[in-house]
Amino acid sequence: MTNHFAKDSAEILLQKFRAGQVDRRGFLTALAALGLGVALRPGTAHAADNEVVLCNWGGVAVDAFQQAFGGPFTAKTGMKLVIDGAGPAIGAVRTMVDSGNVTWDVMDNGLIDAQVLSAGNYVEPIDYGIVDKNKIPNFSQEFGVGNYAFANVLFHNKKTTGVEKLTDWKDFFDFDKIPGKRTMCKWIQGQLETILVADGVAPDQLYPLDVDRAFAKLQPHLDKIIFWEGGAQSQQLFRDGEVVMGNIWHTRAKLLIQENPDYAITWNQNTLLISAWSVPKGNPAGKKVFEFINSALDPEPQITLLRLMGNGPTNPAAEAMMTDEDRVFNPTSPANTTGQILIDPTWYAANEADVQNKFLDLIAT
């Protein structure tokens, strides 16, 4: 479900560009650097000898990824990065590998997806002989290596709630103390955790998630919660004054605060999800893809992506190279990691399909 987030950050970038907040020259430089890549983009990209094909979620993320990762990679290795924005959904990867006609070398999906895909033997193990594990000490897994992070944060309107500062997720469910509608995501990643800590489960004792307990805690409040499906919708619910508090992505929270200082993020107990590079089985560029991955894990490209799309770096070396402005809304900067809950990909890989369906059933009227 990282795909929902990845698509959403591309939408954010497009809006920024339209609003003139992203450097136009940088944007055009990236477009020019694409060269043939732009012309070839529609349809499936085919790997030539000296290139690596990256599949991400399309839209403006194609240009942002080219700027962040393609430029440095070509400068270092002389190889070209071609981006296919078709979206590496689990179903799409499965179909492609099954058909034996694999056209992607590297995919932008999540650590969870990497594990799910590895169970069906659809991804190659990451070659840590080429990819330097030390760059990403915390998120270097067998089939996926963390490329950026994003957080679900507690977010509220200070004016309509009359509350300056929230403490933790207990406030989300305390409708007596703070009346008003809430919003949370209908995709369970990073949602169930917040329900459980609000119910008193210690953050370090969350996994395996007690799904029944979370459902029981949530059920009585369902008529006061609107469930969002995409990032833009979560932002709109706050703008419209439809909700006073919510569990939303940090990228959308940032946009809301920038347009209206009445809003506040409570970083305490945010839930952190890790997106990942993974390699489909039988990728055309073979081992060369790992040179790309290794280059894309450097701090500089990760900071470029943070500035363009808001996605947090996973390479700890990035922290020292950021400006204070970069750090304010970065979910991996120390000021924002107090009480942070790291989502366990292994639990989701094993249980998500089943629990997601039960959750949809629970919230349906």
Binding site: I226, D240, Q356, N357, A364
Partner: protein, 280 residues
């Protein structure tokens, strides 16, 4: 001469037919095939449709929303279409234009527009509150009410055009005959117009109902995550949870149910007449 021309005309439809087979029939067959090969096999996949409580609820929601959408749409559309056939030429042109304007607006934009109108601080609620008609905002969106409003708005233009086409075909001399025999306007409507438009009503009802069963974006946006209908459920199973067994079995079941519904309807002579099949 005519037979050669007819053959030529037939050949002209071949490319379209091939496209339909290639892009429509084959993928559907693939879905059908997957529904018996995925997961733990055909029996288990289809059995789950009848035993799963979640599926039952999704089906129930879909039926309730679709049937209410159809009923409301039919009443509104009949009134509009009936009005239109009694207009003069210029008025009718204007009315047709008004009816077709919504076709130019994407379903996504319409959903967001409805949110703007219906939300608790939206145009409608603030209007009603400022004139003192209500004191608390009414919940008109992020629930089934909102979904139904959005769907009715989408379906009304289709229904109007279908009903209008049918009503213009009704022989006005029958109406004149009824009047000359002393029937009051209400009697004319109930005993002439209504019975003679039954085929049109039937075709339109089926069309709207079948269309409503497959709504995806409108319920997802206007339902606030709490109105889960079949199309969205299938889409979640395909792209999010990877439960292709459930998704394909449910799609196949929906396809079969709609097919049976159509087959049943087309058995009735009135329906065949409406499509001009056996009326000769």
């Amino acid at each position: 001469m005519s037979s050669r021309f007819e053959r030529f005309a037939l050949y002209l439809t071949v490319p379209a037919g091939l496209l339909v087979i290639l892009l429509y029939a084959l993928p559907i067959l693939q879905v059908l095939a997957l529904s018996v090969t995925e997961g733990s096999g055909a029996l288990a996949n289809y059995e789950r449709l009848f035993t799963s409580r979640a599926v039952a609820r999704v089906v129930q929601t879909t039926l309730v929303v679709s049937i209410s959408t159809t009923l409301i749409t039919m009443v509104i559309a009949y009134v509009i279409a009936f009005g239109m056939i009694h207009m003069d030429h210029r008025q009718r042109k204007l009315a047709l234009l008004m009816v077709s304007i919504p076709f130019w607006v994407s379903v996504l934009v319409r959903a967001f527009a409805w949110i703007t109108i219906l939300r608790s601080q939206g145009v409608l609620n603030s209007g009603l509150m400022s004139i003192g008609a209500i004191t608390e905002p009414i919940q008109l969106v992020y629930n089934r009410v909102g979904v139904t409003i959005g769907m009715v708005h989408y379906m009304v233009p289709f229904a109007v055009l279908l009903l209008y086409a049918n009503l213009t075909d009704i022989d006005r001399r029958v109406v004149q005959a009824a009047r000359s025999l002393g029937a009051r306007p209400m009697t004319v409507f109930l005993r002439v117009w209504l019975p003679m438009s039954v085929p049109g009503i039937a075709v339109t009802t089926i069309f709207i109902l079948v269309f409503s069963l497959g709504f995806l974006i409108t319920p997802a946006l206007l339902g606030g995550g709490r109105t889960l209908m079949i199309a969205e459920y299938i889409s979640v199973q395909i792209s999010n949870t990877g439960r292709w067994d459930l998704a394909t079995a449910l799609s196949a079941a929906l396809l079969i149910a709609v097919g049976m519904l159509l087959a049943l309807v087309f058995r009735s002579p009135a329906m065949r007449a409406a499509f001009g099949g056996s009326s000769k």
